[in-house]
């Protein structure tokens, strides 16, 4: 606290901020930051959160139609993870001063963007495989460097997300592998899904570097660590050997490793399609938003009932739960990682001081900390 007061009093805020970035330190919620840095992060993190939430829909469609109980349970676990990832990210965005209700409003009003990939349809079971393998694979490629993002709460959310995400790609790969070891019709179905998801998954890395005006600034701020094209190249390098093991063909006859250039040569990406989908004219944009809006409206009675029940127990004046949530000061983030075990154990030790309970205990390991 005193350090921080001294810092802000003695050093010009911008200089201090720049020095932190230069030293590869993290910016935390209470730090001064340039308005544009804050705006960029609010936009990026909220879009990322929206993508996770909307991303539940293409796969959610297949939960009732999964080919076995096992596949159904796995798919439910995965969709549940996406919901969790959305919530981690909304919390991280809230540390920057935007409310949860406002982000929800922007999404259902169609004012917010989310990843274009979720506006493609999922007509076959093989799409569950292709999404896991290609879409989650591309997402992981994007997200791993974000664990080192200069904004602390975003980086910490991404650490958690990446850890949980690791099963998603594997389960997708195994769906495709199972199909490729099946009948001719099943192999055809797998190849068809790969054909449809390959190009959209490459678009997930965003426009080419020379057409991505904000990239340079985000890289200078160390929000981004690698350029769009570099990440795309890295992703292709990862999936080429995987495609060989699967026995599927990546739908680009021009795809070839250029040893001299140290890069993959490829056919041009159809950026018109990307911009059309991003502008809301993809196959599923309207449907995704309609369902999100419907879920929000149809869930209103649950929020109201929960708020009324809470009010009846505390005698507090009734307040909608969503209001209560946006006023939540926990948006300071990080309180979550406090080990709740020590609190409950303190209670069982019948002690009023947690530290006393801790020292009374001999062999318990320290609470898990942030992996970094």
């Amino acid at each position: 606290m005193t350090t921080m007061i001294r810092e802000t009093a003695e050093v010009d805020e911008q200089i201090f901020f720049d020095a932190l970035i230069d030293a590869d330190e993290r910016i935390e919620p209470r730090d001064w930051m340039p308005e544009a840095y804050r705006r960029t992060l609010v936009r990026q993190i909220s879009q990322h959160a929206h993508s996770e939430i909307i991303g539940m829909q293409p796969e959610g469609d297949w939960i009732t139609r999964a080919p076995s109980l096992k596949r159904k349970a796995i798919l439910m676990a995965k969709v549940q993870d996406e919901a969790g990832h959305g919530l981690y990210l909304y919390s991280a965005a809230q540390t920057l001063g935007i409310g949860r209700d406002e982000m929800t409003r922007q999404l259902i009003a169609g004012e917010a963007k989310y990843s274009s990939i979720f506006n493609y349809p999922t007509p076959t079971w093989a799409d569950m495989g292709a999404i896991g393998w290609l879409v989650d694979g591309a997402a992981i490629c994007n997200q791993v460097p974000l664990c080192r993002c200069s904004y602390g709460p975003y980086g910490r959310a991404m650490v958690r997300v990446c850890k949980e995400e690791s099963f998603h790609q594997r389960q997708g790969f195994e769906i495709l592998l199972t199909l490729m070891r099946g009948s001719a019709a099943q192999r055809e179905m797998a190849q068809d899904a790969v054909d449809r998801w390959y190009w959209p998954s490459l678009m997930m890395f965003g426009p080419p570097d020379d057409a991505s005006p904000n990239s340079a600034r985000s890289m200078a701020w160390k929000i981004k660590r690698f350029s769009n094209d570099d990440l795309r190249q890295r992703f292709i390098g990862m999936i080429v050997p995987q495609a060989e093991i699967l026995g599927v063909t990546l739908p680009d006859p021009a795809l070839e490793w250029d040893a001299a250039a140290g890069r993959w040569q490829m056919s041009p990406i159809d950026w018109d399609e990307f911009h059309e989908v991003l502008a809301g004219r993809g196959q599923m944009n309207a449907e995704r938003l309609r369902r999100r809006r419907e879920a929000h409206e149809e869930g209103a009675w649950v929020r109201e009932a929960a708020a009324a029940y809470a009010a009846s127990r505390t005698g507090a004046p009734s307040r909608s739960s969503s209001e209560a949530r946006s006023a939540d000061p926990r948006s300071l983030s990080g309180a979550r990682s406090a080990d709740p075990r020590s609190l409950s154990e303190a209670r069982s030790a019948d002690s009023r001081s947690l530290s006393e309970a801790r020292s009374a205990e001999t062999k318990r390991p320290d609470p898990p900390e942030d992996p970094r």
Binding site: E28, I74, F167, A338
Partner: protein
């Protein structure tokens, strides 16, 4: 649901005891605040100063939170099993469950 430190015994005892605060310390920028321990203090400002003196004497922290212990709700230790049983039998949430992709590069 219980509140640690919430029940403070008889009223006379309560008069003599400052409220309990839980202390969370951020060791470095980029890390989350982690529970370090607790202390008694009459108000939030004093709690913060005491926390600094008690838990960061050797530069253990760059940021400190203090939270009134009675504001914390914990799960009931007696119902630990039932409360946390949902993940049991759901080992498909872990990548190791997927053995067919073992050894595939970058997976």
């Amino acid at each position: 649901m219980t509140t640690p430190g919430g029940s403070t015994g008889s009223p006379s005892e309560h008069r003599d005891t400052w409220p309990l605060w839980e202390v969370f310390v951020r060791a470095n920028r980029g890390l989350a605040h982690v529970h370090a321990g607790s202390l008694h203090a009459p108000d939030a400002d004093m709690a913060l100063r005491n926390a600094r003196d008690l838990y960061t004497r050797r530069g253990e922290g760059t940021s400190v939170w203090v939270v009134p212990a009675e504001a914390i709700t914990t799960s009931d230790p007696d119902s630990k099993g039932a409360f946390f049983e949902s993940p049991a039998g759901k080992n498909y949430r872990h990548p190791k469950y997927y053995t067919a992709s073992e050894g595939v590069p970058h997976l």
